[in-house]
Amino acid sequence: MSRRLAGGGRVDRGARLRFSFDGDAYEGLRGDTLASALMANGVRLVGRSFKYHRPRGIVTAGPEEPNALVELRGGARREANTPMPVIELFDGLEARSQNRWPSLAFDLLSANDLIARFLPAGFYYKTFMWPASFWEKVYEPLIRRSAGLGSAARAPDPDRYETLHAHCDVLVVGSGATGLAAARAAAEAGARVILCEQDFELGGGLLLDPAHEAWRAGMIGALLRQSEATVLSRTSVFGYYDGNVLGAIERVADHLPVPPDHAPRQRFWMIRAREVVLATGALERLIALPDNDRPGVMLAGAALAYLRRFAVAPGERAVMFTNNDEAYDTAFALHDAGIEVAAIVDVRAATARAEPARQRGIDLRLGSVVLGVHGRRGVRGVTVAARDGANAKTLSADLLCVSGGHNPAIQLASQSRTAMRWDSAIAGFVPGESTQRQRSAGAARGLTGIASCARDGAAAGAAAAADAGFAAASGFDLPPDSAEPGTQVEAFWEVRSAGKAFVDLQNDVTADDIRLARREGYEHIEHAKRYTTLSMATDQGKTGGLVGAAVLAAARGEDVAAVGLPTYRPFAVPISFGAIAGHAVGKDFAPIRRTALHRWHERRGARFMEVGPWLRPAYYPQPGEENDAWASVLREARAVRQAVGLCDVSTLGKIDVQGRDAAVFLDRLYTNTFSTLPVGRARYGLMLREDGIVFDDGTTSRLADDHFFMTTTTVNAARVLEHMEYHAQTVWPDLDVQFCAVTDHWASMSLAGPQARATLAKAVEGLDLDNAAFPFMGVGDAAIAGCPVRIFRISFSGELAYEVATPAGHAERVWEAVLAAGRAHGIAPYGVEALGLLRIEKGHVAGPELTGHTTARDLGLERMLKKRGDYVGRVLAERPALADPDRPRLVGLRPVDRRARLRAGGHLVAAPGSAESLGWLASAMPSVELDCWVGLGLLARAESWRGKCLFVAFPLNDETTEVEVTHPHHVDPENARVRA
């Protein structure tokens, strides 16, 4: 049964589009939305409600739609909860209704509707309280199955999304008469203008009246000729943030089956506007009355839109229920289009529109209300009566148009922190004084009528441009003034009678729920909102939120102006996660840092691991080791202990520090002294936070009196630089010191093992490596393979070691030369796993011990705290709790059973099963030197445990391992090897 009218509308009758809804095939026209196309096909039942699974139809013609939500598309592109009135029809469109099982017409869970008195407001809070053990196994699965609307796609989103940063002088939101006039006035004044319209056609309310078409087309044409005006349709502004930054989503390809090649599906606009004009129009509100959710109950303005814009008859026999004059336009338009208007039911005692209604022969019932709606899956009739309930009469009808007046669309203004003001002329809230550089215009501030809105828009656009510094003369014709008497609304919110009277259709909130919330103490609008979920659905209560507030106000015996509305927050319309994420997904989620030697590691088949943002080689599997990572790690570690190994340590933070006061500055940053460090020497340094906790460590070398080269741990490099900048710029700005990060400028490699000197001697030119000439902690410049290098005799592994640094571009050449020199000595490249093993054996602390809770003394580093002079953290490290000798302190741990493995993270306990934790095992690795696992832990009263045994408990795995408490240096405690 086609309800498409023979003529008129903005649809292209020559362009037929096929689509399906719940598997049934239909046809629509180009220019349709899914809502108008289904309506044209006579489909009224389009969804089931959230809580009661009641049959629902199409209520609105815009993004404020609470009912007609569908799953759009299928597979990886399935998009849940999409409002039908914003789905632009395309050929091949597939949509499915939601929240029904097994079918839309027969939904088993609609039994909820019959037991509704057991599902009151706050039902979840009251019912699913106890026993606690029921929550995970019973309640949550139950709620998840029966609640919620559509389901999201499970597969990764195949489409691309873009982010675009834009600046403009004047941003205009909305392209109705107000917005078009504002944008044109601002653009002609010379301002750079962006105009955003959420619809696929510009014009807003102008689209509903052919009489305005010439003006609309002229305005758009003039705007498009402005070189500095950007006009965006299909673009919803969803958020108004601090600093006049607004977010918008442009639906670039949502109206196509799939995005064209190289085009994003949606574009996220982040717009920084000097001035903003909110021409967002007004939204019609419902009236709460029993069964006001039946398919066929529709807002009056929506009925007009379907009739005029889409040339669809929204019903065959209509009743209009109104509290204002504006709804009469719809009633007359329906009548004039040949649709029977059974009655206009007006709550008011009189109206200036009475005469034209009577002229059309329409049954006008003043001082009357609609008491109820008949028909379950669709309106079959309505009962009308006088306001006191007298003279009740049932009228046959399949369409009930409702108009409770109009709310200015204040969502964005509210987000910009504009306080709202009650305007009794429209019985609604209008924006008060702006706090950001923003103004509302036209219907968005309560005006009515095309001409007055256009005039207001032009003035707002010119004023915004002037405030942005543009005041060129502009002038254009406005639509002719008609006698616009205003809407003459009477505040009227609810018809009280038996049955469910909905104030929030999407969340199934009734007027009774609001009263119940108030009786139970949720009087404040913000509390009532959360208790009942009023306005908390994706439509944010755009059609019924104020009605709910008015019901609450009446229950409180107060004025709705005093109750107010809950605060609006982003998002004014739902937007997709994909658009927010933009390009930052998968491998592009965060930048990946690679060292200058990365390609060499790849060629060598290294397995990589993430260390902060870095990719570092974990180990290098050799033939036969592919399925045994331990074989590689232990082989590499043995090479270092027994021969020589080479490790890429380029990821350590490197900071070049210069200036007359560089040494003084470092003295204040580190717990130990650098002003006494001779040129050409390196020193290990320990850095605290100001609260006395260990922050970072590393070696710093003195290259000249006023020139130092610092290193930091890989993970703290950025934090250390920020710490230095803060202190240099704000705490000690008088110091003459400059520094900059040079991490990426230098590649560095650690050559370690008994054969390190022999290896390096073969490769290096210009440096005498003799132990006397270049001792432990020596620093010198030299060349390898013709490349400049700086050599530091420092060791992390505990072996004789040299760190070779070279400008990053020479990295591979130097690395290859060192490897070639070491071939005869059995050199092996080693990765981060072997590096970690070696440092645990040696008892050097690293990340697992520098937890942000440990002090220098905890880590056995108290000898590094200098006695004289100021440094960051000195004073607070002396706090009694931090100096407590019973605090957990660094120890070595080895299993008593030499074959047992240790698991980092385990608790140290005195006896198996003990619940008293004495500390923890921070790091553990199998030793290549001791033939058992070794660990580093932090243990309370460590001295008293030295040489004794306790247990590592790992209850998650039900493991308890007896361990011996040892010195932390499992290897070479005398530190002889590094000096050899």
Binding site: D242, E690, D691
Partner: protein, 91 residues
């Protein structure tokens, strides 16, 4: 999102900056004692209204700057270099 006028770089998005907090606290002299340092590290006023704050232009010039910001409206009254004294507006 704030838009912050870096005195070295000009108007920039908030995402380029890192926030630290109250810019009126001063690190005490080395001999000021534990209480003074405790106050410096831990104790902060939480004013409703104008507040002078340290912001670090971390993704820009790497300078620490002062920002006079309103803690309820998020309005920014002024920005300055680290060594400038800033007064908060009266209201």
């Amino acid at each position: 999102m704030h838009r912050i006028d870096c005195p070295w770089c000009g108007l920039r998005d908030e995402i380029e900056f890192a926030y630290r907090g109250d810019a009126t606290v001063r690190r005490p002299p080395a001999d000021a004692g534990i209480d003074a340092f405790y106050e410096y590290v831990y104790l902060r006023d939480n004013p409703r209204g104008w507040h002078v704050e340290w912001w670090h232009h971390a993704a820009g010039c790497r300078q620490w700057i002062k920002v006079v910001r309103h803690t309820t409206t998020h309005a920014i009254h002024a920005t300055a270099k680290a060594d400038e004294d800033m007064q908060v507006p009266r209201s």
